[in-house]
């Protein structure tokens, strides 16, 4: 059985199937990019893998590390090592970034039977990683994503990924809302996480991201399924010719 495998997945909202007989295999250490026109189901794919309740699975399977994750709660999928960097991170008024990170890290420690980090060690780790990402310390005290710019939201998503050290990172349009400097910073952070036992699924519209984070495979999605798979060069082809020829 593959490390991460989707087989014959049909899923969507209550009224409409968006992914249609979708299949994908990702092995440990690989970086996959999924590209495709708007409305083709890329974000639905990310939502179904991570258990977003707004999506309904009609048929098919999704397995990770040999386990059927479709029966799992979103938090159980997170404990297993799946992480989604949201295209539009959710605002939570009244919860500071630092408080949220502490809850998340502690929840992972508890699920894995590990001791929670003490406050000074936790703060040090957050501040070091925030500095790597160019996040000002005052942002850590602000309420989660409330009033943040697009770039700040994506940096905070990346900070969460660095803190949680997930095994399978799904990044949904992490390049949207980022200026060139921010994109370089965030891409460097992603590249620093690349390893033989961690994989990435990058959802993007643009080749620009894939020149900074070089994928092993590029998939083109249309009509709810993958219609072509190739190497990193496929992204350049798409950038030059668009999706019209598919």
């Amino acid at each position: 059985m593959a490390w991460f495998e989707i087989k014959g997945l049909t899923a969507g909202t209550k009224d409409k199937a968006i992914l249609k007989d979708f299949s994908l295999t990702v092995n440990e250490g690989e970086v996959h990019a999924v590209m495709g026109p708007n409305g083709t189901g890329k974000s639905t794919l990310a939502g179904v893998i991570t258990g977003n309740p707004k999506y309904v699975v009609e048929s098919g399977s999704v397995t990770f590390k040999g386990k059927n994750i479709l029966d799992m709660l979103p938090e159980e999928r997170s404990w297993l090592g799946i992480f989604l960097g949201f295209q539009n991170p959710i605002e939570i008024d009244g919860v500071s970034v630092m408080t949220f990170l502490k809850y998340a890290v502690n929840a992972h420690c508890k699920a894995k039977g590990l001791e929670e980090p003490d406050a000074p060690a936790f703060l040090k780790a957050v501040k070091e990683k925030a500095a790597e990402l160019g996040i000002q310390s005052d942002i850590l005290k602000r309420f989660l994503n409330v009033g943040f710019s697009g770039g700040e939201k994506k940096r905070i998503e990346t900070l969460q990924m660095l803190m949680l050290q997930p095994d399978f990172c799904i990044l949904d349009e992490m390049d949207s809302g980022l200026d060139i400097d921010a994109l370089n910073t965030v891409s460097a952070a992603v590249n620093s996480l690349r390893s033989t036992n961690r994989s990435f699924l990058l959802i993007t519209h643009y080749d620009r991201l894939l020149t900074l984070i070089k994928p092993d495979f590029v998939h083109v999605m249309k009509g709810g399924k993958i219609i072509r798979t190739g190497s990193a060069d496929l992204a350049k082809e798409l950038e030059a010719e668009g999706y019209g020829s598919f």
């Binding site: 977003n52 309740p53 938090e75 959710i90 009244g94 919860v95 809850y103 998340a104 309420f143």
Partner: protein, 234 residues
Amino acid sequence: MNNLVIKEDEEKICFGDYSDITIKKGGKLHYYHIPTNDAEVNIYVEEGGFCESLLLFCPEKDECKRVKITVNLDGTGAETISNAIYLLGKKADYALNMTVNHLAGNTASNQYAKGILTDSAFLDFVGLVNINPNLKDISGNQLNEAMILSEQARIKCIPELSILSEDVKCTHGASLGNLDEQQLFYLQSRGLPYDTARYLILSSFTNALTDKIADSEIKNDFCERISKWLKQNL
């Protein structure tokens, strides 16, 4: 009944049960109260005075209670921020009336109530802003936000404005809602169990008001009571 007077240009933080509070010219009061019985509080703010108040209701038992807080902006330049947090569960039956009377020109008021209802709790809420005739430069804002967590819980909410002057800027509104599914999902996707995610969202709902408490001891007391109520009632 206890009366309280804030002297001219004095600034005070007070906690407790008062029936009449007078804030003299230029005085400032930050007033916090957790009513344990039926209560009626009348606050009089004189010229240039300021009153910020926060009432908290988080009963542990089934209770029927009637509370009214009235702020009278008596002098030019007087200002009030009148807030309330209500956390009602089981068969709690509350009536809360928050009234602001603009009795002088160049006065400003902000009323903000927010809370959570669950089980079979009921809240009868009236938010009233009265503006006397022939006044100029008046600002009045009023908002009630409620989160209803059960089908049996009910709120009757009347945001009311009585405006008898023309040079007035006023807003009023009320919103009812449930837990946001996507907020819950976001927290769960980071590993927070459902119950923890729910607790965090609900406790954060009142943070907008508790964060502004001017005294750290009172703030901690309010936050602990809210946390205890949430743990017991969710």
